[in-house]
């Protein structure tokens, strides 16, 4: 695997992780799909490392049926402007996973066809899986942890 967007390649517990430049992620995804045969996108999610900076990690899990292997792709985003290009142009399955990541973490996927909340109600405020989001809501007055 040789692509300018790959910053680092780590092997842990028998799993390969690529750390990539978020500015070129779509190009890298297309490369991985076409050249490395990662035809399936298993999932997209994020991890919030609040209060550290860069705060967010967007994590892609790719699957190659032909080579029978999984790959993890990570992009680090700052907490102030968590924005990254959408991978929907490469795998259509990215659509819902990116919506879910937006819904839960507030990470904006540029050029996404329909970036609205998917699991939470449409008028919900805040992003539940962020670490600074309270576990017990205080909106309805039952505790303020």
């Amino acid at each position: 695997m040789n692509h300018p967007a790959i910053l680092e390649m780590v092997e842990t517990l028998g799993e390969t992780t690529l750390i990539a430049d978020p500015a070129q992620v779509v190009d890298l995804c297309r490369y991985l799909r076409e050249r490395e045969k990662f035809v399936r996108l298993s999932t997209i999610t994020a991890v919030d490392w609040y209060p550290a900076e860069p705060r967010f990690e967007v994590v892609y899990h790719l699957h190659s049926i032909e080579n029978n292997r999984y790959l993890r792709l990570k992009c680090r985003l700052s907490g102030a402007t968590p924005e990254i290009d959408s991978a929907t142009g490469v795998w259509r399955s990215a659509n819902w996973y990116e919506r879910e990541t937006y819904d839960m973490f507030g990470i904006v996927f540029r050029n996404h066809p329909n970036l609205v909340r998917i699991l939470m109600p449409l008028d919900w405020e805040g992003f539940p899986l962020r670490k600074d989001y309270p576990v017990h809501g205080n909106k309805y007055g039952y505790g303020n942890e």
Partner: protein, 412 residues
């Protein structure tokens, strides 16, 4: 939800306002199916745009069952999370237990004794049978074959009794824990499982007898719900759906976990890629699962049923009364849990619905830092619009049922 937002959402599929060309021409209408529709098997809402009886556009709306399980996982000790994983996919709870346990064991680098591994295989295969039986029964009920439902739930009851015997619970078993099993396998489990598994293949024959040559069943399933293989791969569909399209993608074979490589079984595939093909794949899988359970029953290794790891697993009661270390470990595990080394892991297994994967991040404390669940129902449901568009609304029920999604699994 405010009125504007509601209208904005509904407006994603606008009903055309132009008058039809002639009075007999089909008119477009927007139909709201669910979230309380009985054949959506849960709380799934689909906004359908129809032209006559043809579905032009389908827009699934999920999230009604979202309970924030991923957030909740971050508040619990590692071992306590097992009880939450049960609630994700309530028809295949042992698969969820297993994938979580495997992921954490990978981080802890725990060695699981063979007896526990085989027991896990046997129980997850029983839960696969359970899930497929519920699927077959309710799917046939949707299409109009009511008898199958009673037949399937008769066998499901036997499986739930076996689960109850093992764990004390019929559905939320939490029987597979980090490091092994929750309890020692009960006395007489061989007889209970053996009696069930000897009778089961003839029960599958009964279902096939009811359905295979049933003209209504054939007319309603053959050629319905087609979705091309390219679309399936692109949309992330897994499990029996993709195996019915001819791809032998089964993680039990390709990435064996929990000593699945020691079992002899075939991956069921079909090439029809329609509701009928998915029915054939699932029925073959039932036979293969029964085959695996029989192998597990006959070759069950002796030995301990959980790992030898005193800092993770609670000590035996007898040891606690005689050894000071055991008492200290017991106190520490109960009050502050155990720590898991820093790291991240993605573990995926084959659930009855497809690839279920847990991405777990540990920051070295006694609680998970992040647990992400890649659930098969969420992945498969994304292909729903592709499958429904262009077919008759009556066929949408058969197509929906063939996906076999669980909304708890979708929304988490």
């Amino acid at each position: 939800m405010t009125k504007e937002l509601f209208e904005e959402h509904v407006a994603t599929i606008p009903a055309t306002q132009e008058p039809p060309a002639s009075p007999s021409a089909p008119r477009r209408m927007t139909l709201n199916m669910g979230p309380q529709h009985p054949s959506t098997h849960g709380v799934l809402r689909i906004v359908l745009e129809l032209e006559g009886e043809i579905i032009i556009k389908a827009d699934p709306d999920i999230g009604f069952l979202h309970t924030g399980i991923e957030k909740e996982c971050e508040q619990k000790f590692w071992q306590q999370v097992v009880t939450l994983t049960d609630r994700v996919d309530y028809l295949a709870n042992l698969s969820n237990n297993l994938v979580y346990a495997l992921a954490v064991e990978k981080l802890l680098q725990l060695e699981i004794p063979p007896r526990a591994q085989w027991m896990r295989v046997m129980l997850t295969e029983l839960s696969r049978l359970n899930s497929h039986l519920v699927w077959l029964g309710t799917h046939a009920l949707d299409i109009g074959a009511m008898t199958v439902f009673f037949y399937c739930f008769r066998e499901r009851e036997d499986i739930l009794r076996i689960f109850e015997m093992f764990s004390g619970q019929r559905m939320m078993t939490s029987y597979i824990r980090i490091g092994g099993l929750a309890l020692e396998p009960p006395r007489g489990w061989q007889q209970a499982v053996g009696k069930f598994i000897r009778a089961f293949p003839s029960k599958v024959d009964e279902y096939e007898e009811l359905l295979n040559a049933n003209p209504i069943w054939l007319r309603r399933t053959k050629g319905v719900g087609f979705i091309s293989l390219e679309d399936m791969l692109d949309l992330g569909i897994t499990g029996p759906m993709i195996r019915a399209a001819g791809v032998p993608m089964d993680l039990r074979k390709t990435q064996p976990y929990s000593s699945y490589d020691k079992f002899d079984f075939k991956v069921a595939t079909h090439t029809d890629n329609d509701v009928w093909g998915r029915y054939r794949v699932r029925l073959t899988e039932m036979r293969e699962s029964a085959n695996i359970i029989r192998q597990a029953l006959e070759g069950m290794p002796d030995g301990p049923w959980r790992a030898d790891s005193p800092h993770v697993l609670l000590p035996d009661r007898e040891k606690m009364k005689t050894q000071m270390e055991a008492l200290i470990y017991h106190f520490k595990i109960v009050t502050e849990g155990f720590r898991v080394p820093k790291g991240e892991v993605y573990q995926c297994i084959e659930s009855p619905r497809g690839e279920i994967g847990y991405y777990i991040v540990s920051d070295g404390t006694s609680k998970p830092y992040r647990v992400h669940m890649r659930t098969p129902s969420f992945g498969n449901l994304q292909g729903l619009p592709k499958m429904l568009e262009g077919i008759l609304i009556a066929d949408s029920i058969a197509a929906l049922g063939s996906m076999d999604f669980v909304l708890g699994d979708t929304d988490r």
